[in-house]
Amino acid sequence: MKLKDILSPFSVWKKAAQKPWTIIDPINDRPGAENYRGFHRNDFEKCIGCGSCEEICQNAAIDMVPVEGQETKEGNSGLRPRIDYGRCCWCALCVDVCPTGSLTMSNEYTWIADEPEEYRFVPGAAKTKWHDEEKGYKRSQDIQLIDYDRVDMFELSPQERDKSFIEIVKGYNKEQAMKEAERCLECGICIATCPAHMDIPGYIAAIRDDDIENAFRILYETNPLPEICGRICTHKCETVCALHNNGESIAIRWLKRYIADQIPPEKYKEVLGTEHLEDPILNKKVAIIGAGPAGISAAYYLAIMGYKVKIYEALPDSGGMARYGIPEYRLPYDQIDMDYDYIKSLGVEIQFNTKVGEDISLEQLHSDYDAVFTGTGLHLGRSTRISGSDNERVYFATDLLREVSLGNEIDVAENIVVIGGGNVAMDITRTLTRLQNQKFGKVQVLTTSLESEDIMPADREEVVEAREEKAIIDPGWGPKKIEIENGKIKGLHVVKCTSVFDEEGRFNPKFDENQKKFFEADMIVESIGQGMDLSYLSEEIKSGLKFGSRGRIQVNENFQSDLKWLFIGGDIIEGPDVIHGIANGHIAAKAIDTFLKK
């Protein structure tokens, strides 16, 4: 034993004179670090109640609960996360996964309460002292546990597409679709928003599992027109997608198209289990007026319930506005046929070129059938009624689009002005640019709308693509007068539109008369909205119906009118778009079933 080993330990006595390291008052003197994972905060303004935090929490510490003052609305479930701090392990995975970035953590780590129940609360609803604190854990921009970027879709370039009506969007391949499907959070906010309440997360999950047949069956549960909807649906689901808040929403519409494209038409019956559905099993008959999306949707669901269904269509082919209002480059006709041929194969009969009210009366249908569903759509154009709009070279967009679909040649002028800022205006603009390109080899179409660029009702990509196709879009002008010389159109006078809606949100445009423009043209197309043609309703029937605002017929929640045998749906009731029509048709079909079984 060395003497050093005995003496050396006594050196620790020097510590007796040193200051201790202990913090006297840790609650006040020792705040958590800048990015400490303390108690949660939730910004209700940003939170959409998608429940991703609840889904990812491995301790099941989070429940989504209704909170006072938070309403359920489009894109917002109205639920908010309630956190049980008896279970929480402070891993902050909920913060990292939050697609809106609303959920964060404060650096507060001490808190004393009397009741154990107080440690289970909804951050953001309960007033906590750390709610307005800046410090604490937030999701780093460097890490992404969710993929916020959409898989690109292959589209034809402007040069490849501007002369023809070939479909622009080419659709996902398997690899792309699975990658895109991978991004879904399965929050289901889209289901609530979709008018047809399609099980969107369900079919996206089936794509992920590469079970296309199951996905296809899920589509047909609520939507019998997947090829059509997969191309031209107004996709309200994508507008509310949880990923939309911080990145790009899931390409729900294109995934639907991907599913429908994978199943060959000859396999439809086998996949959907309708092989033996040939003869109607019920001896009740239903007549449907209009072979548009609403009518065919009602027909499909009635047919699989076992009813005999016959559709009366005024035009020579099926599809309604989907065929006669939407250009072929967006929705090829063979795709419409694919959806319709399957439904026709289930025993649904369609009688074309038969206009109810002229060729056959509604009263006749009422006496021949047990119930009637009508979905006649918005086929009439609306006029601006400005001076000169009665000229023969002033057209309605709907009429021109119908003529193009019918295969009739239209007399395209070299210099055209289109009035309107909606999707139909874009459709006619882009149709006319193609026709001009074919005829003259150059484009001279100008589209103007009351609404300024930021509030134009048309889809953004439509405006961008129209410009790529060399159309000029000059929004924010109100049409004043069409200049006519010797019966020929010289152009359109416009004045600046300063606001479209008044403070209460009603349509009440204001103009600045000092700012003027003149658009030269020798042909003008009006596309400021569509009207309905209800001439097939006789006075006697009309007297049995109630009419609401803007001349719309009033129906109950099952789309049943005051005449119990008459059901009405589609654009003339809701929309206008395809998915509302499909949803109306489905609900009406169920209601007709209930009505006929009474």
Partner: protein, 399 residues
């Protein structure tokens, strides 16, 4: 071993040369004979490292036979993970070892990356290296306090736990958590270093070195420590292979094996690191070796701080973690914890959940079979010192 305790009883002497009597190489222990006493050390006992228990049979003051009992801390982590999505595993695994959670985090993340074929960014690798080495340091500081306390020197424990807390402050700034950091996730790490971190860490390295100097004077140059630890629990080189001993316990018996050097992971290959070994194999040699490894850790941390790139990505792109499926396969990922080789075996069946996760922790052998072997003939007052000198960690046994 040489101290034979003196008995008050005239008719019986606790003569360890006589008792227990051997028959066919096995001791005959009959508690009814009143020659032996059975005592329990643990599960609630300050002298055991965590919640495990030793059923010790003594003759006089000396251990004749012992059985280790585990099961007081079983939380079923491995099974829990089979019901968790891949991304939900990292908050669980860190709880497998309180003093040194990051090795678990690293292994489970690296296993997933290996199975899924994800390559993590350069900077994330450096941050992981820093995190792992800081975590080794924190664990060593806790160990040295325990080793001193097991010999009755509580003051040293207070210093080192205090110093460890300063390192936990740094962990808090770096990761957002003090004890369970939950910092490494599959694909990289969750946060970049905050501003001013490197300077703080360098200051703390100096502070820690000063403390180590005090510890050297009071603990290693200490007649009592030497008399009690030298010759205690000798691990022979043959035992290393026989029992599968790893880490400092094996290196103190001459085995040159350190995962950081033999199978370098993260950025250890780019650091200047030397194998530390000893040939004596007793508790004092193990303590000295660990003391040198603390210095090595401090040296490595300052090397890492100098080499971490300022810019760069910290996370590789993951697929949507809510339904992340990893292709079917299996892998074994290992790292050097303070206790030795720490390995995770992971099997994926191609679904969203791991099919099997298995932890091979060093303590499984060290605390169960090695301890049972070494404890025989040790005085009951030295059991705690022996157990701490093996640096065992019961949660690692009961995953």
């Amino acid at each position: 071993m040489t101290n034979i305790s003196k008995s008050k009883y005239k008719d019986y002497k606790a003569d360890r040369l006589k008792y227990p009597e051997m028959e066919n190489g096995k001791p005959i222990i009959d508690l009814e004979s009143h020659k032996f006493t059975k005592i329990w050390q643990g599960p609630q006992h300050p002298g055991v490292t965590g919640n495990m228990s030793l059923e010790v049979i003594i003759n006089g003051d000396e251990v004749v036979n012992s059985k280790t009992h585990v099961g007081y801390l079983h939380r079923g982590f491995e099974k829990l993970m089979e019901r968790r999505k891949y991304i939900q595993c990292f908050p669980i695994v860190c709880r497998m070892c309180v003093p040194e959670p990051d090795t678990n985090e690293y292994c489970v993340s690296a296993a997933m990356e290996d199975l899924a074929g994800i390559v993590i960014p350069e900077k994330a690798e450096w941050l992981r290296t820093l995190n792992l080495e800081m975590s080794r340091l924190g664990s060593f500081l806790m160990w040295i306090g325990g080793q001193a306390s097991s010999l009755g020197m509580g003051a040293i424990g207070q210093w080192t736990i205090g110093m460890r807390d300063f390192w936990l402050d740094l962990f808090e700034e770096m990761t957002g958590g003090r004890v369970y950091h939950m910092y490494m996730i599959p694909g990289g790490v969750r946060k970049d270093l905050p501003a001013g971190f490197k300077e703080k860490a360098k200051d703390l390295i100096i502070k820690t070195r000063n403390l180590l100097f005090d510890i050297e004077k009071s603990f290693f140059n200490n007649a009592i420590v030497k008399s009690r630890l030298i010759g205690l629990g000798i691990i022979s080189p043959e035992m290393v292979d026989e029992y599968g001993i790893v880490g400092p316990n094996a290196r103190a018996s001459g085995r040159e094996y350190d995962v950081r050097i033999n199978n370098p992971y993260v950025k250890y290959a780019e650091l200047n690191i030397k194998m530390i070994t000893s040939t004596i194999g007793d508790a004092y040699a193990r303590a000295e070796l660990r003391y040198q490894e603390i210095h090595q850790s401090l040296d490595l941390i300052s090397q890492i701080l100098d080499k971490i790139p300022d810019n760069g990505e910290i996370q590789a792109k993951l697929p949507n973690v809510l339904h992340w499926k990893i292709p079917a396969g299996q892998t074994y990922v290992k790292a050097e914890s303070t206790r030795g080789e720490h390995g995770f075996y992971m099997v994926s069946d191609g679904s969203e959940y791991p099919r099997r996760v298995f932890l091979r922790g060093a303590s499984y052998t060290h605390a169960i079979s090695v301890l049972e072997k070494l404890i025989v003939n040790v005085s009951i007052s030295d059991i705690a010192a022996l157990m701490v000198s093996l640096q065992t960690c019961p949660p690692e046994i009961e995953r």
